[in-house]
Each structure stands twice: as structure tokens, then as C-alpha cells.
Symmetry: C2
Subunit: 331 residues, 2 copies
């Protein structure tokens, strides 16, 4: 296994400790519940925003805690939902009179943990909303879901509700905004290689030297089809067709376009994909209003990428433009 | 070859086109000379800052063009220096009465191209300064250099002179600042896997399943030693010892600490390395004033990382904190 790791059991705690050490003025790590939270919340006038999920998708979600994004993230172990009592303890730690909004990507394990964590928190009088994200168009009812999976489009929901919560939006308003963004967001991904979980030490699945997995999930779940590798433009055309026709996005629309790396693909290749997607959208009469080319939701060291579109309106674009801070940054 | 690529010959131009399309308001791509430049320069009162190098190290340097960073980048093909006439044409395009500062990582091919490009520009009356960066402590006189190699520490030189140039510093002052930052910056890297250049289609060198290359160069050049893979903490301890003792950094120093991914390593693992480095610096009485955990200077899809320290003083810290914009970003 070619990884920077000590004890695989300590992979997540050591990463979280690193995040907190690199952001000591703004973030803290709470080892008892394996969570990362802002040091300046809860605030009485602000709904606290929390997301949890399995680890291995970094920067999602533990590295997008910060002003205008998440107030806390409670990750599970690699590719494992967080324990329900950790969700509950996280909700308690960030609880504000304005309430707590729990964001959940649609995987059965995560939904169960968050539903139970919510019940436990509500039993203590905490006001809780739950919002489920399911932007992946590849498959319905997958290996680990009923319905569609939540993947990189999740970033836009976090960004929008994070910004609105800083402006003082109440829990109902945040649920409306989050549901709207989710309803206008679609993603599809593609893997060139499998990923290797630290505790397994070998690739999670087999993919031949000339094969790619179209519509792959972020835990290596099967997608729509496994077939021979094609070139970058053909790959973009296929992802784009699947995404555009699903909502559908129409001529005259203005969109955010995200090319998300899955962990092992260099950013040079992501811009080659971006180029084609931008050009093909222009040919369809769809204008790119905002561009996102980086890693947002990965699958450990998997080589691959996903393409996300969000249909923009004035409200969404304003919220996406609002200032924000995260552990992941350049400067 | 598991890459998103069309024609390998078009790898760099298509990437540059993507960068420009994603930043249409701020950057432009000039296909004739394979360069990326800001749309709002040259400015009469500002020295223009340019860096070139081989491609394959992204985000360095084509993705760090922007306000407070580079004004232009003229890359060569993958792992190849830019042609001297492209350096010259770039200098002409960005030439300002205040002059042009050319930043060069210390590789023989790059230095030759920049020295000749400088002569051609000076022959036309353009005021040009050249600053060489050589932060890599691993080896002296390597495969492609006389003296030390320039690697990820380069980011700090760009950031400092970019900020100072926005404040109106003249060419001599920028040379002083850049030389100072370079003189206080040290880096060492380590590879877990080789990288695969698109035009070659296979790994550039062989590294056994249990081996690592300590002190690797960003083109896969041999480092200090090839030996059996150890755990993350032991790797950090070795890199840190080599870097700390080189300047040396002493108890009481305040530093910037960068953990730079080499392209194929997920950010989760970079934070595991960061944790140990931060703790070990604290044990040595060295305080981390600024943290950088991301990809800054890569080697295509190589799994690996480098560790950089910069000794901070008031001037450097102020320049590193100044606002800046680049093509690579999160929001």
C-alpha cells in the first residue's frame, strides 16, 4: 500500500488532528466524538450547519468547516457512517436557539445515523432539520442507497445554506434554499482506477488496464457501465449528456460547472475536462456563470473525475458568491 | 495509461485553454506563445512578474497567475523548458516601464531559456531582472541542475514578490525580497510512486511495491536514497531533520510550514503528515506561524509529498498574508 499512514485505525483521528493544528485560531477537534467544529459557534442568532459522512472523501466534509460553510463535521471511519451518538453529540455541541441543520448525503447508513441522532437531539429540545442530498444521476437504488446517491454537488448545498445562515436565515428558510439547490444540481462521475482504503491495503475493486467505470460511486460502487477507456473529450461528452438531459438544463440557462477530481487525478487533467465541458455547454446555449475545478469530494486515491451542473438563479448565485472560509485553502 | 487526455501533444495547450475559459474575466491564453497572462497588465507603475518552467507541475505555474501572484506564466511542454523566444515574447507582452522580473527554478534548461530570453528582451530596451529559486536540500548538482533544484518553496517567492509588486516595489526591491525569501526557504520531497508523462504513456521510472525515493525531484530525478517504505511519522521525521538542519532553523524561530502533495496523494494523507511536522517543530521550539497543506508544485500523478519551511520575519509574513487571486481556488 503506497500511502502516508501510520496505524490505519488512526487514519481519521490523525487527519483531524492535523486539520485542527493547521487552523488553531478557527477550528477545534473534539476527539471524544471525532468531530471538527468552528471555535466561534454556536451563535444564538445563527442556525448551525452540520454534515457527516464516511471519511475518505476529503476535502468533504471535515475540510469545509468554516465561516459561511459548515459549522461542524462529524465523519465516520473511512467509507463508514458516523455513529448515531456522535451525530447527537455534535448536534448538542453546536446547538443554538435558532436550531441545527443536518446535511446528509443519501446513503442508507448515513441516513439512519442522522435520523437517530436527530431523534436523540429533539428529545432534548434541540430544534433540528435534516436535508438529504442526492445529486448523482448515474444510478437509482445503488449498492448503498435507496434512490440516488449524494456526491460532489453537495458542495453547492453547503455553500448556499452556509452563506444564508450567516445572513440570519431561519431553519425553514435554510431547508427551502437547500432543497432548491439540491433540486437544481446534477452530477455524474467516472473512475479510471480503483481506490485503496488504508485498512484494506489493496484496491477495493478491479479495473482492467484499458477499462473505466462510467457513473462510478464515491465508494467505488458500480456505475452504469464498465468499458474501454476513451479520450478526455469523449468522456466529457458522455458525462455531460447524462447530466444535462436529466434535469434537463436548457438553452438559455446559466449554470455553475464543477469538474471535481476523485483524489488521484492531477489538476492539469481536470482543466482538460473543463475545457471540453465549457465548450460543449456553449454549443448547447448554456452559459457558465461560475467555474469550480479542483477536488471537492474524493474517493481516497481514485483516479477519476465527476462533472456537476447547478442551474443558477439570482438567489443561488448570490449565495455562491458570498465570502467563506475553510480549512482547505491556497493562501 | 490511465489519464484524461486527448492527443498528448495537445495536453498543455488544452489545459491552458481550460484555465482561460474558467477565468475569462481575469486571464487570457495566448496560443502563439503558449502563455497565460492577466488581462489587466502591464501597468506602468508595477513590475510584471513572470515564471516559466516545464509543465506537469500544476498548479505551478500556470494556475498561480493572478493579482498579487504571477502576471504571466510561460510553460514548456511536460517536463521541458519553454523555448527562449517564448520567454522573450512573454516579457514583451507584459513589459512595463517599471520592468519585468523573471522567476526561474534552478534547472539548467530553464536557466538557459530565461537567460537568452532576457538578453533578447534587454536588446529591445526592456528592463529585466532574473531571480533563481533553489530550495531543494535533497541533492546538489543533480541530473538536470548545477547546484540545488527549485521546487515547491518557489510558491513563497512568487507570493512575496507578487504582493510587493502590487504595493509598488521597484525591480531592485523585488530582487532583494525574492532573494531573501529564497535564502530562508528549504524543501525536501519523497515519492511513493513514479509519474507517467502523457507522451510516454508509462511510468518514468520503476519503484518497487515496498520502496520509496527519499529526496526525489519533481521530474522523478533520483534523490538521496531509495529504500523500504516506512510509516508517515518516520517519513516526516526524516524530511524535517534534513530541512531543519540545513538552514538551520532554530529554537525560537517562527516559520511557514508547507506540506505539498506531488499530484497523486489525497489531501487526507497530507494532513497526517502535517500533524507530525507541526508537533515535531513544536518539540524543537519552532512555532508554525502559517500553514499550507495542498498541492502547490506537483509531478503529474506521482504519489508523494514534500515538506517546506520558510523562516518568517515581519516583512515576509506581511507579504504572505496580503490578498491574492489565482486560477486555482476553492470558491
Amino acid at each position: 500500500m503506497k500511502k502516508f499512514v501510520n496505524d490505519p485505525k488512526q487514519f481519521v483521528p490523525e487527519m483531524l488532528e492535523g486539520i485542527a493544528l493547521a487552523n488553531q485560531d478557527k477550528l477545534k477537534y473534539v476527539p471524544d466524538y471525532n468531530l471538527i467544529m468552528r471555535t466561534d459557534i454556536p451563535r444564538d442568532d445563527k442556525v448551525s450547519i452540520v454534515q457527516g459522512s464516511g471519511s475518505g472523501h476529503e476535502p468533504a466534509h471535515v475540510m469545509v468547516v468554516g465561516r459561511g460553510m459548515l459549522d461542524a463535521a462529524c465523519p465516520g471511519d473511512v467509507f463508514a457512517a458516523p455513529p448515531m451518538d456522535y451525530v447527537y453529540e455534535t448536534a448538542k455541541l453546536v446547538a443554538s436557539p435558532a436550531g441545527v441543520l443536518l446535511l446528509v448525503n443519501n446513503y442508507t447508513g448515513d441516513r439512519m445515523a442522522f435520523d437517530m441522532g436527530r431523534e436523540m437531539a429533539e428529545a432534548e429540545g434541540i430544534k433540528v432539520g435534516v436535508l438529504t442530498i442526492d445529486d448523482d444521476v448515474a444510478v437509482k437504488d445503488s449498492l448503498y442507497t435507496v434512490g440516488r446517491r449524494g456526491v460532489a454537488g453537495n458542495f453547492f448545498v453547503i455553500k448556499a445554506v452556509g452563506a444564508a445562515s450567516e445572513e440570519g436565515a431561519d431553519l425553514d428558510e435554510l431547508l427551502r434554499i437547500g432543497q432548491k439547490v439540491n433540486s437544481l444540481t446534477r452530477t455524474m462521475g467516472l473512475a479510471l482506477t480503483a481506490c485503496t482504503p488504508p485498512a484494506k491495503g489493496s484496491p477495493l475493486f478491479e479495473l482492467g488496464a484499458d477499462e473505466m467505470e462510467v457513473g462510478v460511486g464515491i465508494h467505488g460502487e458500480p456505475g452504469r457501465e464498465r468499458r474501454n477507456l476513451t479520450n478526455a473529450d469523449a468522456i466529457v461528452d458522455e458525462l455531460l449528456e447524462a447530466v444535462v438531459t436529466d434535469l434537463p438544463y436548457d438553452s438559455g440557462d446559466r449554470v455553475a460547472l464543477m469538474i471535481n477530481g476523485l483524489g488521484g487525478t492531477p489538476i492539469s487533467e481536470l482543466y482538460i475536462l473543463y475545457r471540453r465541458a465549457h465548450q460543449q455547454l456553449a454549443d448547447r446555449g448554456i452559459a457558465v456563470g461560475r467555474s469550480y475545478v479542483n477536488e471537492y469530494c474524493t474517493s481516497l486515491d481514485m483516479a477519476g473525475a465527476s462533472l456537476t451542473l447547478v442551474r443558477l438563479d439570482e438567489e443561488i448565485e448570490r449565495l455562491l458568491e458570498a465570502p467563506a472560509e475553510t480549512a482547505i485553502r491556497i493562501f
